[in-house]
Amino acid sequence: MNFVINFSIAQWRAWAPGLESVDDWQAWSRQPVVLPASDAAPDVSFLPAMQRRRLSRLARMAFSVGWPLAEGRPDLPLVFISRHGETPRTFEILKDLAADQPLSPTQFSLSVHNAVIGLWSIMRGETSEMTALAATGDGLEHGVLEAAALLNEGSPAVLLVITEEQPPQVYAPWVDDVPFPYAMGLLLTPGDDWRLDLCAQAGQWPGSDWPHALDLLRTLLNDETTCQHAWKNRVWTWQRNR
């Protein structure tokens, strides 16, 4: 089965430790490297202190890339994507459970996958449709598919945020696709600047050294016209039309 969707990318934002400006990302895109381990978190001082105090780094990353894109756009649907989610919070909760300790209500309530969009809704007074996705290796494409459906229903724009937190060390044997924490936000609008199509594919496909969202960012920054991503039996092709 083949399918094709069209859309435009009006704006983007991205964050990783030490990579904040377009220039930072441009330099990284030309010569991508694994970033040194860091506890750095993005600045979210645009939020009142009482609101931002509970935000994990994952939430801060999502807010820092999403907030500027949502500025001046009320009624903006949001598609939030993260494969692994709030692993540091989950791990803290599991440690308490293992030690027979009571669980922190804050950690518990904010560990669920839709916590970030809940906070987003509260802090922005935003009541548009929001979705939290956890797909495996091609969550970005599934998120774009969701966004395209919302655009097709008449939304003038859809905000897509994809982010991954560095999981605690204990998960290292199972999680090999987060070389460093990162977040990317895309403001998607109706249009045909970009085309995404899906083809079925049998057999092996070469993997990438970088999270797919960052490969797409390199495509955007280096003015390349195509970006391909394969996961299981699915091959996604991003094609820039103009």
């Binding site: 009482m50 105090r53 509970r54 009571p102 922190s104 804050t106």
Partner: protein
């Protein structure tokens, strides 16, 4: 400010992640929830847990005077003292 008042204020700041507040910013009789300091229901649960852990006391969430004990730092200190003596 007694040591207990001071300790409870520090506990509130640490347990609830109040980034920009020091113990001198919280009055003994200042309302903690809703008005005053502006804490919410998740904070109430988190603070209850922190108090139980630190002072080794049991709090009955359903008891009808529990809400009163959590009005302010002074009432919390009186509650903790009474529980510890009991």
């Amino acid at each position: 400010m007694s040591d207990l008042h001071r300790d409870i204020k520090q506990l509130i700041i640490d347990a609830l992640g109040l980034e920009d507040i020091g113990i001198d910013d919280i009055g003994d009789d200042q309302t903690l929830f809703g008005e005053g300091l502006g804490l919410d229901s998740v904070d109430a649960l988190e603070l209850g847990l922190a108090i139980q852990k630190k002072y080794g006391i049991k709090i009955d969430a359903d008891a009808k005077d529990t809400r009163n004990h959590f009005s302010n730092v002074a009432s919390l200190a009186a509650f903790v003292s009474a529980k510890q003596e009991a």
